[in-house]
Structure formats: structure tokens, C-alpha cells
């Protein structure tokens, strides 16, 4: 398989044979996504089959080493696989925080035993992972966390709580930042631990947002037993792992741009709803705002394209991820504001066709969190100022 085109051909043929027909169309709703895990109920036999087949080749985690169940692909092959999947509109076989978040940390900092234990079940979608970073009252100051693992000889006992755990109620295992040395300065004394959420003492509580229901939960730990061998990296050095993952996460958000793919453009929505006179949108102040927005949207797309090409050319993205996170989220918030302005009265209601049963206002309200989650816009601007512009302090 020396030639990329040979690889492409092989992928194409395999997909032709193995991707079930019903898996070759966009997801009708997010609710039908495949998350895997102990208690996951597949929506269809095809969904189960598709996951199983992809997992078998390691293509749920294409670049992970084959010894941990991954696909062992290089970057170019990964790109080809993605392109071929996109070509037939294949659904993502597995959405998994294990793959997107825990895996990179395990691969970089985990012991051989931990990799052997956790990576293969992740690839196969057998264990669904939840993330435990933020805490009530910690906010942007993540390192001020208070959840605490007490040393009980052969194990720890964990007490405290986490917030903003996505699908915490559906998780099988959790990876979690905890304090293991309360004497040490803030950023020391933190460890990155894992435990089964079925362990006695773990409970979750849903978080309702201003936009309504959310996948977030608060997770409470009441004398939870954590095994000592479930620490990633060195004990009390968890902050290093956390920083690595935060950057990784930011780069993922950065790369996603404005989530407008497949949706109608703002200007089209406007002309459809508001109408034009001689080809000019009737509401001219709004028209100028939309033009400014669409210009910036295109600018961001081009800049993401440029950044990708630069990475290919060997330039590292580095702190630029913070810039993308900032710009992309602010842009999406502007987008939602414009859609509300276009929607007018219809966008003010929770029910009915005109507001897509409240979808427009819900997305708008939800977008207000974009500049807060994953590091606030203020934090991103601080990072840009310090790490890109080299400003002091």
C-alpha cells in the first residue's frame, strides 16, 4: 500500500462492501448519533454493524497505533479515509470523548498498562467516557479545583464535585482532575485520575440552561474509591496533562469554524424572510450588518484554510488556536443575533413552525455560552496577547 491512490481505492472498495446503505445519509437528528458504551441502545442493527465493522479496522480512531486497536494510519491516509467517508455521506460510526479527549492524553502520558486497559475498549465503543474538569465556583480558574483524593494506602477516596460534564449521566467511566496534595501550590498537587462511574458514591444532576435542556450535568463524589493505578502521568503532575488536553480541545473547536455547514446562509434566510426591493434587502441597516458578518465568516473560513495549509507546510498552530476559538465563537454569536433579528416576532416564541419550534431562539440563547465554555473569550485574548504578541504581565 505504498501509493496514496492505492489506499484510496482500497478504502473505497471496503466502504462499498461494508458501509450499510442506511448509514450513508446525514443524521436526521443529533439524538440518533452513535455514542456507544455499556448501556447504549442502537437505533438500528445497521448502526451497530457499522460501528462494529469500522472498529474492527481501527477506523473509529484511524491514527491510533494498531497495538491499541487503532487504525495506524498516517495523516495522509487519515485524510483520504475522511474524504471517502464524506464522499458517500457516511455517518460518523462513533462519537466519543474517549477518542477525542482522553485518548490523546493516554497516548502521550499514560503507562503501557493503562493504554492496554483503556484504549481498545474506546476504539470499539464499549466504554463511554465523561470529562471532569470544571468545578462549581472555579470558572476560568480551572486550577483552583477542590475535588480531593485522599490517600488511603492502596487506594484514594474522592470527595467533591464537577460541573459542565457533558452527558455525565450517560458515562461509564470518568477522567477527572482532582487535588491529591492539598499542601502544594495551586498548580502542583493536581492529578489526572480515572474511575468507573458505577462506583458507589458517584451521582449526577442535570443542568438546565437558559436555552432549556442541556447535555451537561453536575457530578457529585461522595467517598468514591479511586484505584491508585488509574493515574495518568505522574502523581501531582496532572496539570501538565490538563494543559495539553485544553490546547487539544481548543484546536478542535478552532478547526470547526462557524457551525453553518449545511444550513442556509444568513443572507438567504434574510431575503427569504424579509424580501428585497430591486434586489436589495428591504432592511438596509440589517443588510449592512449581514454583509459585515458574511465577510468575516468568509475571512475565518479562509484563515482556517490557510492555517491548515501552514500546518501542512510545517508551521505549528500553537497559540493561534486561542485566536480561532475567540473569533469563531464571537462570529457564531453574531450569526445567531442576526438570525434573531431576521426572525423578528417569529423568533421570540418557543412553539410553532415559524421559530422551528423554538429552535431559533434556543440556538441564540445557547450561543451565549460559546464565549464562556472551553475557556472564555477573555482568557483566549489573554493568551493571544501573551503568547502570540509577547505582551508583558
Amino acid at each position: 500500500m505504498n501509493q496514496p491512490e492505492d489506499f484510496r481505492q482500497a478504502v473505497r472498495e471496503w466502504l462499498e462492501d461494508n458501509c450499510p446503505e442506511s448509514m450513508r445519509s446525514p443524521l436526521p437528528s443529533e439524538a440518533e448519533a452513535c455514542w456507544g458504551g455499556r448501556n447504549f441502545e442502537f437505533y438500528s442493527e445497521d448502526q451497530r454493524l457499522w460501528l462494529e465493522r469500522m472498529a474492527e479496522r481501527g477506523w473509529t480512531a484511524p491514527t491510533w497505533p494498531t497495538e491499541y486497536g487503532g487504525g495506524g494510519l498516517n495523516r495522509e491516509e487519515e485524510k483520504i479515509l475522511k474524504e471517502e467517508l464524506a464522499r458517500i455521506h457516511a455517518r460518523q460510526p462513533l462519537i466519543s470523548f474517549g477518542i477525542s479527549m482522553l485518548g490523546p492524553a493516554l497516548l502521550k502520558f499514560g503507562s503501557e498498562e493503562l493504554k492496554q486497559q483503556h484504549l481498545p475498549p474506546i476504539v470499539r465503543g464499549e466504554i463511554r467516557w465523561a470529562q471532569g474538569y470544571s468545578e462549581p465556583n472555579a470558572g476560568s480558574d480551572l486550577a483552583s479545583l477542590q475535588a480531593r483524593c485522599e490517600d488511603r494506602g492502596d487506594h484514594f477516596i474522592l470527595n467533591g464535585s464537577k460541573v459542565w460534564t457533558s452527558y455525565g449521566d450517560l458515562g461509564d467511566w470518568m477522567f477527572c482532575l482532582v487535588r491529591t496534595d492539598i499542601e502544594a501550590p495551586k498548580h502542583k498537587g493536581i492529578s489526572f485520575v480515572m474511575f468507573d462511574m458505577a462506583t458507589p458514591g458517584v451521582s449526577t444532576r442535570p443542568i438546565r440552561l437558559i436555552s432549556g435542556k442541556s447535555p451537561f450535568t453536575e457530578t457529585i463524589f461522595d467517598d468514591v474509591r479511586v484505584e491508585k493505578d488509574q493515574v495518568i502521568g505522574t502523581l501531582n503532575q496532572g496539570w501538565t496533562v490538563a494543559k495539553y488536553l485544553l490546547t487539544h480541545e481548543r484546536e478542535m473547536i478552532a478547526g470547526s469554524g462557524v457551525s453553518s455547514a449545511g444550513t442556509m446562509s444568513v443572507s438567504k434566510t434574510a431575503t427569504k424572510t424579509i424580501g428585497t426591493d430591486n434586489g436589495v434587502l428591504r432592511n438596509t441597516p440589517l443588510r449592512a450588518d449581514i454583509a459585515r458578518y458574511e465577510i468575516d465568516e468568509r475571512c475565518l473560513e479562509l484563515t482556517i484554510e490557510r492555517a491548515r495549509d501552514e500546518v501542512k507546510a510545517g508551521v505549528s498552530l500553537g497559540a493561534a488556536a486561542s485566536m480561532f476559538k475567540y473569533y469563531g465563537t464571537e462570529l457564531n454569536m453574531r450569526r445567531q443575533e442576526l438570525l434573531m433579528a431576521i426572525g423578528g416576532n417569529d423568533a421570540l416564541v418557543w412553539e410553532g413552525d415559524a421559530s422551528k419550534d423554538g429552535d431559533t431562539p434556543r440556538q441564540w440563547l445557547r450561543s451565549k455560552g460559546n464565549s464562556i465554555e472551553g475557556g472564555t473569550s477573555e482568557i483566549q485574548l489573554n493568551i493571544v496577547a501573551k503568547h502570540i504578541l509577547g505582551l508583558p504581565g
Binding site: I210, T273, A341, G343
Partner: protein
């Protein structure tokens, strides 16, 4: 008139603040929402508001009111913006009452205004047919029929739609449009209520062969556009007053948070980037205070044409209150995004009011047009 509140007005405002913070703080709004209230407000609270005399403020003394004027009512709206108190105050005590006062015959006033003052009649202006505010667009029609009129058509985004006893409806009548008082219970009137973002209940209202007596006509036949514009301008100024309360309260809560909340070992209010944004917002809110007060005073001085100032106020307040509500969430961070915390309600109520009677784009355009450009 000096651009300050007089002693009496200050007392009225302070009393209103006491009443609302005790009887209808934001938790009252939450309670109504969670109880699945079908009107979007509490009848019990409304009775207390009536008791306080707020529904009588605009109503002339001859019709059982206090004739106290717009500035006073504006202060009450501002205060109820602070507490996000749901009630038909804006729609009935201000807009509805003003429509009667400006356009009603002596008989109509004598019939309707005492009931408004006594809180027994809820009025709802029904003038929008499209999703964006365009009060000149009108496909509803009233044709002469017998001694009266036959009304057909429909309206959307009618605030207090489920609770309204009487709709004030704009309809085409040959040349020009006219306004009509339409009982909600009249044959052929269908009210389809829907819940809005801020828990208030709006409605789509349709009229199918609704028979109206001659006395349903409000103002002169075919001259309803001018009357509607004046009533709308009053409503816009009232909405601006309520937005002013929202902006101030959201801002003050945020400043309190900045003064108390610690991150990275320091109070977050000590971060200069937040300080500058806060100071800029403070300046904008100060501008808003002046505009709202001036607009209310001009109404009290009987200035007939408030269009320019009304559009100015609505554009400025919609912009500033929106900014204040968004910054409130951003500066509160994650907790501001949770339903459990109150600050999000300010954004929701703000969005309704900034959209109602024309959003900032509508009024930017109208302001420029009124100024000849």
C-alpha cells in the same frame, strides 16, 4: 422642564421599587413560568397593581383615573423592568389607555377608561401582520356592513393575547386604515396563544366575518394611520422605559458580581478589560436615562409629534439594554448560562421588548427618514 425627577416622582418610584421587590421580584416570574400559567402573568398580582393605582395613572380624573401623566407611568415601567414583573401594564395601562385618550370618543372613553383604571379590562394592540414590525402593511379589511363594519384578516405577535378583553385592531377601510375596538369574545374572533421567550403569552388573532357596531371605530374613519403612529410612539417610549430598568438592573447585578467574585486569587472586577467594558456600558446607560426621561416629559408636555424622539429612544434603548444583558451573561460566566440563576431572564425579556414595536434597525431607518435622509 428640568430634566430631573421631582420630589413626588421620586417618591412614586421608591414606592414602586419597594412594592415590586417585595411582591414581584424575579422569583415571581420564575414561579409563574414553572406553574404553567396560561396568561403569562398573575391575576392576583395584577389586582395588587390595580390597588396601587398604577392602572389609573394615565386615565383622566373624569374617567375615574388619576391623570398623573406619562413620566409617572414610565417610572413604574422602568421599575417593573428591573424586577421583570410580568403584567399587562405596558399594553393596557399605557398603550391601550393612550389609544383611548388620543382617539376615543367621549362615549368610548367613558365606557372603557374606567374599566382600565379599575383593572377590569385588558387591552391589546393588534397591528402587526408580518414577522417584522411594519405597521403600514395591512391586509386585514373592514368593510361597511349595516350600521357597522365587517372585519376579516389576522394579526400576529399580539402581546397579552390570551388575557385581552378587547383588541385594538388596525384594518384597511377603503382609503386609509382605521382602528377598531374588537371584543375578544366577538363571534369570528379566534385567539391562538403561544408562549414567548420571557414567559409572556402572545397570540395570533384571526378575524373571520366579525360584525362590529359603528361604535367600534376608534378615531376618524380612514385616518387610523396617524393615530396608530402616535399610539405606537407612546408604546415605544414605554417599552424604552422598561428596557431602561432591565439595562440598569442587569448592569448593577453584574457590577455586584464583579465586586465579589474571585478568580485567580483576585476579584474579577479588578481586570482592566472588564473595567473598561463596564465603564463604557455605564456611559451608555447614562445616555439612556436622559433620553427616556426626555421622551416621557415631552409626552406630558403634550407634544403631539414624538416620532423622532420615540424612534431615537427605542433604537438607543434596544441597543444598550441588549448589550447590558449580553455582557451580564458573559461577565457572570458559566453560572450566567444556567437556568437556575436569574440573569438569563433579563436577556429574554429584553429581546421581547427590543423587538416589540420595531427593533433597533427599524428605528434607525425611521429616525433617518424622519430627519430627511
Amino acid at each position: 422642564m428640568a430634566l430631573v425627577l421631582n420630589e413626588e416622582q421620586r417618591m412614586l418610584r421608591d414606592a414602586a421599587r419597594d412594592f415590586l421587590t417585595q411582591r414581584a421580584p424575579v422569583s415571581h416570574l420564575r414561579q409563574i413560568r414553572d406553574s404553567g400559567n396560561e396568561l403569562g402573568f398573575s391575576r392576583e398580582l395584577w389586582d395588587e397593581i390595580v390597588e396601587m393605582g398604577w392602572t389609573a395613572i394615565l386615565v383622566p380624573e373624569e374617567h375615574g383615573g388619576l391623570g398623573y401623566g406619562y413620566t409617572g407611568l414610565g417610572l413604574l415601567l422602568e421599575e417593573s423592568g428591573r424586577t421583570l414583573t410580568p403584567s399587562p401594564l405596558l399594553g393596557t395601562a399605557l398603550t391601550g389607555a393612550a389609544a383611548l385618550i388620543l382617539g376615543g370618543s367621549p362615549e368610548q372613553c367613558a365606557e372603557v377608561l374606567p374599566e382600565v383604571a379599575a383593572g377590569q379590562r385588558i387591552l391589546a394592540l393588534a397591528c402587526d401582520e408580518t414577522t417584522l414590525h411594519q405597521p403600514e402593511r395591512n391586509s386585514s379589511q373592514a368593510v361597511a356592513a349595516g350600521d357597522g363594519y365587517r372585519l376579516n384578516g389576522g394579526k400576529t405577535a399580539v402581546m397579552d393575547g390570551a388575557a385581552a378583553d378587547t383588541f385594538i385592531v388596525s384594518a384597511a377601510t377603503g382609503q386609509g386604515i382605521s382602528l377598531f375596538l374588537v371584543p375578544a369574545k366577538a363571534n369570528g374572533v379566534t385567539v391562538q396563544p403561544y408562549p414567548a421567550l420571557d414567559i409572556s403569552i402572545a397570540a395570533a388573532v384571526t378575524f373571520k366575518d366579525v360584525e362590529l357596531p359603528a361604535t367600534a371605530l376608534l378615531g376618524a374613519l380612514g385616518e387610523g394611520q396617524a393615530l396608530l403612529d402616535r399610539v405606537l410612539d407612546i408604546a415605544r417610549i414605554g417599552a424604552s422605559a422598561e428596557l431602561l430598568g432591565i439595562a440598569q438592573e442587569a448592569f448593577e447585578r453584574t457590577m455586584n458580581y464583579l465586586r465579589e467574585r474571585k478568580q485567580f486569587g483576585v476579584l474579577i472586577g479588578s481586570f482592566q478589560a472588564l473595567q473598561h467594558r463596564a465603564a463604557q456600558l455605564h456611559a451608555e446607560i447614562e445616555m439612556c436615562k436622559s433620553v427616556v426621561l426626555k421622551a416621557l416629559q415631552m409626552l406630558d408636555e403634550g407634544a403631539v409629534d414624538n416620532a423622532e424622539l420615540a424612534s431615537l429612544a427605542k433604537a438607543k434603548l434596544s441597543t444598550t439594554a441588549h448589550k447590558a444583558a449580553c455582557e451580564a451573561i458573559q461577565m457572570h460566566g458559566g453560572i450566567g448560562m444556567t437556568d437556575e440563576f436569574d440573569i438569563g431572564f433579563f436577556l429574554k425579556r429584553c429581546r421581547i421588548l427590543e423587538t416589540l414595536y420595531g427593533d433597533r434597525n427599524f428605528h434607525l431607518d425611521r429616525y433617518a427618514r424622519l430627519r430627511g435622509y
